[in-house]
Symmetry: C2
DNA sequence: TATTAAAATCAACACGTTGTTCATAAAGGA
DNA sequence: TCCTTTATGAACAACGTGTTGATTTTAATA
């Protein structure tokens, strides 16, 4: 069927694109490269996408929508979740499992020749999940000083996201369960405690 | 003097490049754009740089070398420094003051159309400073689990770096002193404590 | 002031990529 | 079989690239 043929062409394009993106980055890669690598006519590419940026956008949008669908479901807390924690274990776990499922492309997006805009979107999604849970109380007294809310939010967020990004960049060696547990438990340790083991 | 003329040309190039980088990013910007914006002949650009990537490299290298010079000096701890802390207040302060001094270009490098490779280099420099101070003891017992050293290091690092990056991206409104103090003091709070003020 | 070397200009070059168009061919469902 | 969708192939003008060679400008210095 034509739908089948269509799918085959676009998935070949995605595959070639991922390889080229990983080895050269988006700037250095041309539509001609994609066409050559996919063994399709260059015109065929333009039948599906406006240009290489449009292709990148559409592939990322797939991931973003999937992640949103996974994380936006209102969770009734499962038995694993600690209601005091800022981020539900079960939701993080599901997100990590999805990352593993789409690993080839996500690893590339997060890697050296990847796209910081995707990382930013990913951060924003995690941020939304966290913010739902964080008490809406304003600033935190810090000795005689204030820790402004925007900085407090950023620190929280980066603690979670940096673990996930390191996991991906190392090749997702650990299981999603291990990482989810690590994230949950780390919430109760200060950097000073982490450093001076 | 000819040295003067040379400096004027390259600094005009840097200025135009910074503007274009901020508004389009490195991919979308051409050597022709730079030449037009700087009101120089395109050939003149190639008298100084191999291509736009070479220009980017050289501008970044300046910053990196300056930062290394600032941070590599072996500090005898100043009276402000707490010898127990993982990162010396006085060193961080000097780095932040330099960032403020070179703010226009650094803000661009760290911004939406900036270069993730620069952020990575910046992280690596901060990482080196931190690692000197962190106890070389291995893993940390975390309940019944271990927190692997690579993840512990990454969490420490991202806590510091994310504050600095947020500061830059917001336009460096706060003083370097405020940020340095924030970084130093935050080391003793867990994410959980930060969240539930 | 005249000389000289460095720095900048200008035009031209071949080349690759871009996005578009048009005519044609292949595929496969109705 | 017919018909629509999908893919092909060739050609197009436009633009950016990096390089060349001839020329002019600049400013230091002899």
């Amino acid at each position: 069927m034509s739908q089948q043929r269509h799918t085959e062409t676009t998935s070949k394009i995605k595959q070639t694109f991922t390889i080229l993106l990983k080895e050269k980055g988006l700037d250095a890669l041309s539509v001609s490269d994609i066409a050559r690598g996919s063994q399709i006519n260059r015109g065929t590419f333009y039948l599906h996408y406006l240009d290489k940026y449009d292709l990148m956008d559409k592939l990322q949008e797939e991931l973003i929508q999937d992640l949103l669908a996974i994380l936006d479901t209102d969770v009734e807390l499962s038995e694993m979740d600690n209601p005091l924690d800022i981020i539900p274990y079960s939701q993080i776990l599901k997100a990590l499992q999805y990352v593993k499922q789409e690993f080839t492309f996500i690893e590339t997006l997060v890697g050296e020749h990847g796209d910081p805009k995707f990382v930013a979107k990913f951060k924003a999604i995690i941020s939304a999940v966290i913010k739902e849970k964080v008490s809406h109380s304003s600033n935190l007294k810090l000795g005689t000083e204030h820790l402004p809310k925007d900085y407090a939010d950023e620190i929280l967020l980066s603690g979670v996201v940096s673990i996930i990004l390191l996991w991906i960049r190392k090749g997702a060696i650990e299981s999603p369960e291990q990482i989810a547990k690590m994230i949950t438990q780390t919430r109760f340790l200060s950097p000073s405690e982490i450093a001076h083991a």
